[in-house]
Amino acid sequence: MTYVVTENCIKCKHTDCVAVCPVDCFYEGENMLVIHPDECIDCGVCEPECPVDAIRPDTEPGLEMWLALNTELAGIWPVIDEQKEPPPDAALWKDAEGKLAHLSRNAVSA
């Protein structure tokens, strides 16, 4: 199994998960994080840290698309191993619906 980052992360991108991950397996895009499934050790420490409940174990049903997305984007985006400030408008997007349409596939800008 692995944990995966899901839709709630988009445009929120809190990085509390990054601060606790023991193996630095989060990768950073412009407005979302993903987990590298081959590097995740399934320890679960990140799941309760996420303020917007975006991290789920892939053993939950219906997450196939998110597993594929995490796998793909982790191969493109750079690793993030230090916590940083969330976007200034993160709170506005917390409970927004249909956030997938806003996903940027771009890596975070250096």
Binding site: P22, I41, V45
Partner: protein, 335 residues
């Protein structure tokens, strides 16, 4: 099914829910083990994990191999008996610093000196975690725990030093979250013929968080770790400008002023017939010295099973010899 060609991590993953604290280093070790096992050419039903008592000793539950969650400290003895009678099996021992170095310390020594072909993994977190935080045989002086409210006062045991003193033929160290290094070290241990001992720095982030920060924190670890490679000089440091040199009877750190690699450094020899230098490397302790990871020693000696076989190669004759021993006189009848 006898083929080992198409095995995958899923073939070695049990249906049990993994129960360690979220963030535990044990997850990282389990993850690498599940990736490694399918590549070793041994089927799950020919693989056995024997553990003692402690957080680490939950390991066998999570692998779809044979497993025995055994008696506190006695995993090496049980594994010895198993390998003695079933030399066809690949036998691993999973233990911790409390299990292996306190209640089970003498079992560990004797399994190693007998060169039984078992692979002993010691998850060292320098704390008793399962019993909620008491100092262990590897806790550092001054550590405040539930059982040492004013700090521990004793010197820690060095697992590598103990393994070397016990004549272990393979001695190595790695780090839970260093996936590549850990995987390669475990592979070397698996492929070694004879007793293999691997100490793994394992973070207990509940009761002893950061115990190995010097070795895991990317910002500082390069200045506090020497990665051993057979035939290579002991060079370390973020700038790769520090090294270990033998000065008289002591090891010392030397730093090149001009940014080059220092000269006259100790060259690592894992095959050395004497373990003298390995003992010195094993004793290097943070913060005075960098600590070593990698294979300290890997030498070839006859295994326990080979020696027993050579002593009496015929199975029928071995049975007969046992029978003669049992009926050899010097017996008493108790009324």
């Amino acid at each position: 099914m006898t083929s080992t060609a198409n095995l995958s991590p899923a073939d070695f993953t049990s249906d049990q829910e993994v129960r360690w604290c979220p963030g535990c280093g044990d997850f990282a070790i389990l993850a690498q083990m599940k990736k490694l096992l399918p590549t070793l050419g041994v089927r799950p039903e020919n693989t056995v994990f024997v553990s003692g008592i402690g957080c680490s000793s939950r390991f066998p539950y999570y692998l779809e191999t044979y497993g025995l969650h055994s008696i506190h400290g006695r995993a090496p003895a049980i594994a010895t008996g198993l390998k003695h009678t079933r030399p066809d099996l690949q036998v691993w021992v999973v233990t911790g610093d409390g299990d292996a170095l306190s209640i089970g310390c003498t079992h560990l020594l004797h399994a190693l000196r007998r060169n039984v072909d078992i692979k002993i993994l010691l998850f060292n977190n320098r704390i008793y975690g399962l019993t909620k935080g008491q100092f262990s045989p590897t806790s550092l002086p001054g550590l405040v725990t539930g059982s040492s409210p004013e700090g521990t006062t004793h010197q820690p045991l060095h697992p590598l030093s103990i393994a070397l003193a016990s004549k272990a033929t393979f001695v190595a160290r790695s780090i839970d979250t260093n996936a590549k290094h850990l995987s390669e070290t475990l592979r070397r241990a698996a492929e070694h013929k004879g007793s293999a001992f691997v100490e793994i720095f394992q973070n207990c982030h509940i009761y002893n968080d950061g115990a190995f920060d010097f070795a895991k924190n990317a910002a500082i670890r390069d200045d506090h770790l020497v990665q051993l490679e057979h035939g290579a000089p002991l060079v370390f440091g973020k700038e790769r400008n520090k090294g270990i040199r033998l000065n008289g009877s002591q090891l010392e750190v030397v730093t090149a002023e001009n940014g080059d690699v220092p000269s006259n450094l100790l060259v690592h020899d894992e095959l050395s017939p004497t373990a003298t230098i390995a003992h010195m490397i094993a004793a290097m302790s943070h913060p005075d010295m960098p600590e070593a990871i990698g294979v300290l020693r890997a030498v070839s000696e006859p295994t326990h099973n080979e020696l027993m076989h050579d002593q009496n190669p015929e199975p029928a004759e071995r049975s007969a010899a046992l029978e003669r021993l049992l009926r050899s006189g010097e017996t008493w009848t108790v009324n």
